[in-house]
Subunit: 436 residues, 2 copies
Amino acid sequence: MKITEMKVTPVSIADAPLRNSIGIHEPYVGRIVVELVSEDGVSGFGESAFSTQMLADLESVRDVIVGRDALQITQVRQIIDSRLHPEAKDSLDGVLQAFDLTPRRKTTAVERTFSPIEVASLDLVGQSFGVPVCDLLGGRVRDAVPFSAYLFYKHAGGGGEGDDARDEIYPEAMTAKAVVAQAKQMIAEYGFPSIKLKGGVLPPDDEIEAIHQLRAAFGPDVPLRIDPNCAWTVETSVHVGKELAHELEYFEDPTPGIDGMSAVRKELLAAGIEMPLATNMAVTSYAEIQESVEKDAVQVILGDHHYWGGLRSIAELGRLCETFGMGLSMHSNSHLGISLMAMTHVAAATPNLTYDADTHYPWLHPEDDVIEGGKIAIKDGAVGVPSTPGLGIEIDRDALARGHERFQRVPYRDRDDIGYMRRTVDPDWEKLLPRW
Amino acid sequence: MKITEMKVTPVSIADAPLRNSIGIHEPYVGRIVVELVSEDGVSGFGESAFSTQMLADLESVRDVIVGRDALQITQVRQIIDSRLHPEAKDSLDGVLQAFDLTPRRKTTAVERTFSPIEVASLDLVGQSFGVPVCDLLGGRVRDAVPFSAYLFYKHAGGGGEGDDARDEIYPEAMTAKAVVAQAKQMIAEYGFPSIKLKGGVLPPDDEIEAIHQLRAAFGPDVPLRIDPNCAWTVETSVHVGKELAHELEYFEDPTPGIDGMSAVRKELLAAGIEMPLATNMAVTSYAEIQESVEKDAVQVILGDHHYWGGLRSIAELGRLCETFGMGLSMHSNSHLGISLMAMTHVAAATPNLTYDADTHYPWLHPEDDVIEGGKIAIKDGAVGVPSTPGLGIEIDRDALARGHERFQRVPYRDRDDIGYMRRTVDPDWEKLLPRW
């Protein structure tokens, strides 16, 4: 199963003006599609976030990949680890720097570079053997993988610019009422069994109100989560935690850092509130787990195979979380169908992945995905686990070419949520973590 | 890759009169060979320790296995977990009870039952796909897996009884001088790069002397280890640790329990001695890791795919140990070539498995293995990682039948190191952990 070719294709996809704690999504977001071709002419695909550094890092390891057996993938991780320049390890992803997370992410560059290669190689191996990717990971423990409705405060518009501007799928939502409407629209279309609100945008009491209104609208049985991306102090986090003690399935990244999360946990426990804290920011790599466990900082890790070094690594993370009494859920950024399917396969194979996963997929415009036959179906809130070989998707090469042409045409490269916030919403905008 | 047949074959193999802290090996030890046959007529093999309960547990899950796709193996673990009777979980292995370890091993019965099934299914899948088992685990990170010379205090004799009595491979060794001679003989034949002495047999100062004599005989660069199987109090363990501060690569299970190991660690650190403590007794399942980490009880875990639930589980354990700054080595009991090859494949695929692994394989009489072509070669202390499909071994069905016939003929079933010690060495023998 010798790899004879590695194609690295950056694409731009329209992104709606979604708000978060540091700013707003620009009209386009970049993704990188990695294709590995075997000597038998089989192609496997993986996908990663785009950054200029990431693109350079992927290009820099091409010689490690081409000529290698697709089954010899752990070697690749070791070589990338030995190869990537220590400084590159700090500068991989602009948005991580924006969130001040890079100092803790030294090893993450290796895992991020390795991830799309590992996924593509598993896709290639699965197709070559005629079995789904999940069967390369021990087989499925579930036949469908449930996701949560991922709500955002947002301005009007659907992303893209000029001739490429997209109709908005979801209208402006800057109030609790509009967020409830967004949830109703999304759940009507996809049937998601749980709801996550990206917070950190409005003053905390407004977001508490949004959660209460979601509870009122959807009844007592729909799990709710809020993720303000470190927008709150420990004090504010504890305040919100107390207000929402009976509402939240878990409370994601209210405040920055392991020490901050640990302090929130301690105060909530002291108040008799057992609500698990979840994270995709305080703990984003194996290097941070030991300290987090020692300080009981988080009780749910939102794994993300893009950050954590691929699908086998998420399976290993599942076992680790189980061992330390932690839950495992899944994080998402804006992404294509390739990553949705990679998430689906690893979730299918990982017993401890018992929370509904996050996905931005409802926000992706159908014309921007690169999957043959259009976007992957989400039914009753879940993606069916394919029984077809590999990831179980065919790539629409015309759509991929259009995405790349768009990338060449538009000026957006590394994410700049802060700058775009200044240019379009508030010229005096400052990143403040925590803000409240 | 549907499994159409599951064959469970207990065999008896001659075992030399090796001493340990609770007694002596009986003339025969049982192993169980598990064969899974696919509808295409491919056979995959796995091996486990024998116990009456284990045999019953394996038989009790036959209906879970037959009819299932060999790739759907994580499901099997879940079903075994739901199926095995809670009391069975405590009584799986006589020797574990003898060591007073069962109260901590509730989940181990599930993992032990699952392990030979998982190995057999990986062997079957690898053969069906035409790739070695290590390639199903991410591929090899090393081409040969080094093992250590596993020395024992022993009485004269080679094991077996009557017409089946085996010539002794290694003569009586009840003194430091004889232990050095055993090491020389074993290393001359196999080239092992490191040495482990099974201790807990002679008074501690005699065993300290044995380590010093091994150091004198083999020079400063050969890693040495001692494993008294919990024969010593904390105080004695600290005494030995201080005496051997400059000699031991790691110090295995000097004293019982996580609290005991933690106390030894603390006192050694206080004395400025950084020697890692290793275990196959204080921590033998995922259920014990969190407490061990909290108490810094062990710094090296001796994984054993028979205890820990198969090869993927050992790979996961490797990641977990790395995450918490622990080393991973490999434990062994008396075993056949099937398990040696399973150990070799998982060690080949696991980056953090950086210590030379334990193996009893030199103690196995060539006429007792069940591998076509005789015992697997160990060269320069290492087993080459096969490139042939599956585990890379062929089973000698005549040898397997002879082993089973021997099992039916001899009276030895569950291990009884204590009783045999009373019958052959010391009628007043009592198990005492710690003894000194």
